[in-house]
Amino acid sequence: MNFKKAGLDSCPLTLGSTDQSEGSILRSRWFPFFNFAHAQFIFKMAAVQGGMVDAKDELDIKSEPPSDGFGNSNANDGRLLSSSPGAGTGGTATGNNKPAPGPPEEQQTLLAVLQFLKKSKLAESAEILRREAGLPEDALDPKGTDASGSGPGLAAGSGQVDGVDASSLLSRVTVSSSAAAQAPKKAAAGEDQPDVSVVLSAYSQQGDPSLYDAYYSGLKRFIESVLDCHRAELSQLFYPLFVHMYLELVYNNNESVAKAFFEKFSGDQECYYEQDLRILSSLTKKEHMKGNETLLDFRTSKFVLRISRDSYQLLKRHLQERQNNQIWNIIQEHLYIDIFDGMPRSKSQIDAMSGSLAGEARREANKAKVFYGLLKEPEIELPLDDEDEEAENEEGKPKKKKPKKDSMGSKSKKQDPNAPLQTRIPLPELKDSDKLDKIMYMKESTKRIRLGSDNLPSICFYTFLNAYQGLTAVDVTDDSSLIAGGFADSTVRVWSVTPKKLRKVKSAADLNLIDKESDDVLERIMDEKTASELKILYGHSGPVYGISFSPDRNYLLSSSEDGTIRLWSLQTFTCLVGYKGHNYPVWDTQFSPYGYYFVSGGHDRVARLWATDHYQPLRIFAGHLADITCTRFHPNSNYVATGSSDRTIRLWDVLNGNCVRIFTGHKGPIHALAFSPNGKFLASGATDGRVLLWDIGHGLMVGELKGHTDTIYSLRFSRDGEILASGSMDNTVRLWDAMKAFDDLETDDFTAATGHIHLQDNSQELLLGTYMTKSTPVLHLHFTRRNLLLAAGAYNP
């Protein structure tokens, strides 16, 4: 599908016109784009949904006239389209349909979209699109069909945004995706989006089904007989081969053979693929394949293996000798073998990195430069007296100074070479209240306790009582004054944990009576009658899965099963905006550390970057193969990390929407992410109960912390990054020595560019403490500014 490209390419289109215009014109010019984005989104939805209907339809287009159900579903889409805000105002924006698509490729893409719309009988939408794109009435001639072929090439070309030095992020609105980063891969696969018919038809040519068993066991025998050093590497082949062979059997209606094949060999697969195998096992009919997301993921993305040259040669020779074309075909078509020169990896090295839905990350996927350094803090006149400052310095001296310290507020002027430009993405200006808060923060941080292995933090546990298993998300403000809980009954509750009660702003009528000149006007606008410790926010219509306070404590974000993200005001305790876009459950959302932006991710497998004052996303990060389960902002706000059910973590560049890192190694859906305060490292926790540590700059796994026995739902670094705290479903909070974990590593030779790390099993040494709660799963962790650890969870009798 080329709609994504359509969206991508529409951006220079708007870009060109926005440069000289602003204000209302600018706004109106976006609409075409948003329209594209929206359309693209909806089409993606159709595919993602796995919906038995849509996916099938795409298949059917080629062969037969649409059935009734087909027409209905598209009518639905059509309605959505036309009711989208962009389309609604599209009429007013017709004036600017002059910026006709310049490059012919773009035009072709548009034609392809148009064609699809026509085909789908979305005449109205097609008409709108045609008008907006300024295409001639008769644009839809047969030559549009080959547009799809040129699609992939476009994606690669969209990297140009990188170089553009526009003044504001908003003017560079781009629907971005991983497409650029992954262009080669996807191109090889044929299409960016699963074009089901193409994908599945790859299975049609095949050999004798009864021989599959022999093929597979032949390969198995061969691999088992090779030298030890190659065996581990070649064993990686088992799983993808097994899956593809099984699917081929199923596709060709050899149900019983497939079943026998599955039963015979599923036991050989690594245990961390068990989940996928379970899904696979339920899939026994060709018809099932059409709507199955996991399967489509497997089909559309090539499974990536890293194999040393020697092992690969060995394999190749074997397959050629045996004339084992079946397997060779699969390897050629569905696997991507990343060959490297050097020593074959050991079993443990391979196990550390494998486990994701689509194999390991390719090496080049992690080569992009990441500016992981922190932004320079703005200079703020510190009303500190000198003693205080000295005290701080003295405190800082005995320990090794971390680069973090510099940016933390001391006077260092040096720019971190790894930091992004201050203006790389536009950040909101500091308000007076923010400055006050910064000052508070600095004051507090002087009183911060230095943590370490011999100086563990105290943990204060906030237990939600009588929550009856309904607590689904928790967040705490940075200054630890407010705590919010999202509940399965769709409510969001905000507590004040300081003596200061929560108050609403007075009503408009009452506000008029206030003397606006008075000094304590901020105090006066608050309605004392509404003071209470708890405020309940009603608005969602499904369980609230993600919740996040804005850094200035004025807003609260919540994401829910109902597909919306809501922005709440903590002044009036009302809902300000409902951000619609995800249409499917939104699993997580988080504010940027500088406010204004926020990121969300959900079941639709895309993460979105939003700005609070725009009701459409600024960026769409697409590339994950399964639900996005958690989203985190990098401390410098230039990057976003997303964890997913496909068992990978991706790091996205906010500027251009590219995927700059793919981390594989988890064996289960990732439910917790945390950046270290210095921005260099990322910690991730998953349902497999392990915490993995990643070096962002080098794109490497640098540590594994084993100990939890159940899903890890929260991770947090202490304010200085010395301690990593993890909270889990197994009712424990564990503290890990992050300093040691990262220090040990710096002695390692990172220049070994192969990226084959050898992890030592030192979890026990790094574990500083385990604290059992009383049947209370730990859902959230938070270090206060003085390094007191707050934990929260619902008592679960």
Partner: protein, 638 residues
């Protein structure tokens, strides 16, 4: 293992019968077999798909249990209308039915009269969500407060005491010593770090925090003090508080020393108090006493067999203490006896030795028999039954011989009652019918005739029980009282658990046949008296005592009423003085089922237990008592 499981998973498909049943339920009859197969595969696949999606919602809901709402949400994802009306926090009770070669599981949908629902008073509004803070850890050390789990779990204590080398005690890892920090006692790192090859069991240092010392002082004072209410509170604290692990050695020493002193001083009251402490310690679900049995068992055994436990043996009821201690003994044997420590055999040996000794006094003799009898039917069979003749002769000598002393006589009487009580049920099980008085006399001597009547009674009761077991045994499982957590916190201290009291012992009813009214504030237990009267000759009342405390399981005791008459009883339980929380009202359910036969009218109802000192009603009295008395889950002999 995982592989085997996986292989099983792959081929689970709904049976075609289900398809047929479902088809019929929507009005499609006569579905082809082929269509059924195709359908069932498709349906199975879809169900699995939905289940997998539902799992996502469970994970994001931060739960371990899949709920119906997860399924609903998963259906929504697929654009399918959710199943309304299945909202249930707990499991959905599926019913099973078979017939006509079909087996069905169905969900019972009762017709509900709306007016009923409207007219029922509204249930109490559930408590609102609230937030409560506590210290999970203070500078790396987890404080032992009720909000935190016990520092050492029971399993850990168990492995520690049974396999001392495997576990390094919490807080005694290398870390503690290397750092030389003062946190050596309570670092709750749980897992011992196993480093180095030689692992010596580190020296334990027992330091109690100031709070713990205060607590210890308060508790011990309250336990042996004069204020009963305070004692009840203290005992409850011992029985429920999760943080006592550190203080366990102190308590056991306190008890053992206390018994040693008070036995000498013949202070019965204090001995009872100490035994109640033992009981409370044993009841504490977070403690594992194995390591302290060397102190506790001698103390308990002393209370069973000591020659004299009170100042006036003829008046004071030290028998009850012996019974109680015997039960404690049996309980600890049951819990802690292993092949390595052989507690049970060692105790048995001790008791038998003094039982076989001719010079043993009646008091000790009583204790020995009680102690042995509590250990179970096998022990009675092998150790007591052979002695019946000898003991009978001895009793006869006292009862019918010249009056030696009142004390001896009372002792002999007690021993006799005890023997009859325990032996009858055992004999009834092992001896074939019919019960012939002469045979009994020949076999068991003096006690024979009495035994015979007891056995007969036991048998009738047993048969009755067997008949009724399916019909009238009513298992009332009251859901655990949900503590209003916001008030009581996580402590459980609000739970109205008052330790049971043994003030009124069973044997007393022999002398003064009044129904046992506890002289102490009785536990605010919910009592269900369910009386099922069958058409048979005798009736059985079942007294189900549901104590609302957390640990006690419902104790069901069957009270046989007079041998040959129907005796529908209504027992009105007067609500004991409410325990600590006055808010919990005593719930009473009195279910009286009267027989349909005319025979019921023959006997007028009596509102209390029969006052005659017939052995039958005595039994009843005992049962009632025992159902209240602590710990031992009394199952009446039948």
């Amino acid at each position: 293992m995982a592989e085997e499981r996986r292989q099983k998973q792959c081929s689970v498909v709904l049976p075609t019968e289900s398809m047929k049943a479902m088809a019929e339920s929507v009005g499609v009859g006569q579905l082809q077999e082929d269509s059924c197969v195709a359908l069932s595969e498709e349906v199975s696949y879809r169900i699995k798909e939905i289940a997998q999606d539902a799992l996502k919602f469970m994970h994001h809901g931060k739960r371990r249990k899949l709920t119906t709402s997860d399924i609903d949400n998963a259906l929504k994802l697929k654009n399918v209308e959710p199943l309304y009306g299945f909202q249930s926090q707990e499991f959905i009770p599926f019913r099973f039915a078979s017939g006509g070669g079909r087996e069905l599981h169905f969900y019972e949908e009762k017709e509900v009269d709306l007016s009923d629902i409207i007219n029922t008073p509204l249930p109490r509004v559930p408590l609102d969500v609230s937030l409560k803070a506590h210290w999970l850890s203070i500078e790396g050390v987890q404080p032992s407060i009720p909000e935190n789990p016990p520092p050492a779990s029971k399993e850990q204590q168990k492995t520690e005491s049974t396999e001392p080398l495997k576990v390094v005690k919490p807080g005694q890892e290398e870390k503690g010593t290397i750092q030389g920090k003062g946190q050596s006692t309570t670092t709750p790192d749980g897992k011992g770090k196993e480093k180095g090859l030689i692992r010596l069991k580190p020296r334990s240092t027992h330091e109690l925090s100031v709070e713990q010392q205060l607590y210890y002082k308060e508790i011990t004072e309250a336990c042996v003090g004069s204020c009963e209410a305070k004692r009840a509170e203290a005992l409850q604290s011992i029985a429920t508080d999760p943080g006592l692990y550190q203080m366990l050695p102190r308590f056991s020493t306190f008890i053992s020393e206390g018994v040693r002193v008070n036995v000498v001083q013949n202070n019965l009251a204090l001995l009872i108090y100490l035994m109640r402490m033992v009981k409370a310690l044993m009841d504490n679900p977070t403690l594992y006493l194995e390591k302290y049995l060397h102190e506790l068992i001698p103390a308990v055994v002393t209370c069973i067999v000591s020659k004299q436990l009170c100042l006036r043996p003829d008046v004071d009821n030290h028998w009850a203490l012996r019974d109680f201690a015997a039960r404690l003994m049996a309980q600890s044997c049951k819990t802690f006896s292993t092949t390595t420590n052989n507690i049970q055999s060692r105790v048995t040996k001790t008791l038998t030795k003094s039982l076989f000794d001719d010079k043993t006094q009646w008091t000790t003799r009583y204790g020995c028999i009680a102690g042995l009898a509590e250990l179970g039917a096998d022990v009675i069979k092998t150790l007591i039954l052979p002695r019946l003749t000898v003991e009978g002769a001895r009793i006869k000598a006292v009862m019918e011989g010249p009056v030696v002393s009142n004390i001896d006589k009372i002792g002999a009487e007690h021993v006799q009652t005890l023997l009859l009580k325990h032996c009858a049920s055992v004999i009834a099980k092992i001896r074939p019918q019919p019960d012939n008085v002469e045979q009994y006399r020949a076999e068991y001597g003096y006690l024979g005739p009495m035994l015979c009547s007891h056995v007969v009674k036991a048998r009738t009761q047993a048969t009755l029980q067997a008949q009724q077991v399916n019909r009238t045994t009513l298992t009332i499982t009251q859901p655990r009282p949900t503590l209003s957590v916001s008030q009581s916190g996580l402590t459980g201290s609000g739970g109205p658990r008052t330790p049971s009291i043994i003030k009124v012992p069973s044997s007393l009813t022999l002398m003064s046949p009044r129904p046992g009214t506890p002289s102490q504030p009785s536990p605010p237990a919910t009592k269900y008296i369910v009386m099922g009267t069958s058409a048979g000759a005798a009736s059985t009342q079942q007294v189900i005592t549901l104590s609302s405390s957390q640990s006690a399981s419902p104790v069901t005791s069957t009270v046989p009423s007079a041998t040959s008459t129907l005796q529908p009883l209504v027992k009105l339980e007067s609500g004991g003085t409410p325990g600590l929380t006055a808010s919990r009202p005593l719930q009473k359910y009195i279910v009286v089922s009267l027989p349909s036969s005319a025979s019921s009218s023959l006997e007028p109802k009596s509102s209390v237990l029969p006052t005659s000192i017939s052995s039958a009603s005595l039994d009843g009295g005992i049962k009632l008592e025992r159902s209240e008395s602590p710990g031992v889950s009394t199952q009446s002999p039948h």
